[in-house]
Amino acid sequence: MAGFAVPLRIAMKKTVLLFSSAACALALFSSPLLAQEARSGTFKTVQGGVSVGQGEARRPVQSGGAVAEADQVQTDATGSAVLLLRDGTTIAVGPNTKVDLTRFQFDSTTQQGNLAVRVLQGSIRMVTGLLGKTQPDNVKVTTPASTVSVRGTDFIVEVL
């Protein structure tokens, strides 16, 4: 028994050490990684009145600005925008449109994830990216009364 006790204790110490260094590495790496992950996509061309945000917290949009999961993009009669998500999905947003990025999860190492977009009003054109290629079943566009499943790459969804 006593013969086992010492190596076991050393092994445990090593495990604890390994754990704590893994935790340190995680803490070190997680903050910049999280900051990058929070950005689901980037605005490209932006014309006229375009805002983005959640609930009442809205901000005007500029080229290079970020869009995050759960954000709503809204355009007025003069507004339009092109949004590029991290997996390469492009969403062109027409005038008088309200569209939610309901869900966007994308692991850029494995190229796995989920994308859900909800069109509440107006029109969007979607050109799907890596998620549409690797996991088409995980890409959905919904309107108040329909669901679009994606097998192809380029289509328009309009809610009147």
Binding site: K44, L84, R86, G94, V119, F155, I156, E158
Partner: protein
């Protein structure tokens, strides 16, 4: 009946005819087959032809119809006029066993940065790759380190950090497929995607 009332009735009638929503399939750039499936409480429609539409009518019916390029462009001109820019890709090589770019690859960075700056909201994704020596897990780490090293160089040149993403793809995307544990310099590389 006054003209105004007629106009109003016509507008109401028109709105009653317009569907609640409409999905239109566009042709794929490379001409390959494409499709979307539209599902509502009343049914399912597969839209499989370019410029075919599925419309959810106000009475709940889901109807498919073949439209044309002309009609779709007339209906969605401003939307289709929005640019969907294609990504540009560049491949960089590393000095053997390191995260240091070769002199030749280093000299490409200026031109790549210029292209990224020329785009509206231009960004870069640096994707690191390894060969198949070492474990897949170790290669995930190494490929990310390579990508991060290049990302740092781009940021040092003044590019906005939030618009440069470093991605490690490990050994998943070899340029030259090999068996495990084969050293292949052409697979030890980083791509920069400008988009």
């Amino acid at each position: 009946m006054s003209m105004r009332l007629v106009a109003l009735l016509a507008l109401v009638a028109l709105q009653a005819c317009a569907p609640l929503s409409r999905v239109t399939l566009l042709p794929q750039e490379d001409g390959r087959a494409t499709s979307v499936q539209v599902q509502t409480a009343s049914g399912v429609v597969d839209v499989t032809q370019p410029y075919q539409t599925a419309a959810l009518q106000r009475d709940g019916r889901l109807t498919a119809q073949q439209s044309s390029a002309e009609e779709v462009h007339a209906a969605y001109g401003p939307l289709l006029a929005l640019p969907v820019p294609a990504a540009a890709r560049f491949t960089l090589q590393f000095e053997p066993g390191s995260s240091v770019l070769t002199a030749e690859s280093q000299s490409q960075l200026g031109g790549i940065l210029a292209q990224a700056r020329a785009r509206a909201g231009g960004e870069m994704v640096v994707v690191g790759h390894t060969d198949r020596t070492g474990s897949p897990q170790a290669n995930d780490t190494l490929s990310l380190q390579r990508a991060q090293a290049v990302r740092e160089l781009l940021i040092k040149q003044g590019f906005a950090p939030e618009l440069v993403e470093a991605v490690g793809r490990g050994e998943r995307e070899p340029l030259v497929p090999t068996e495990a544990n084969v050293s292949e310099p052409r697979n030890r590389r980083a791509e920069i995607i400008v988009r």
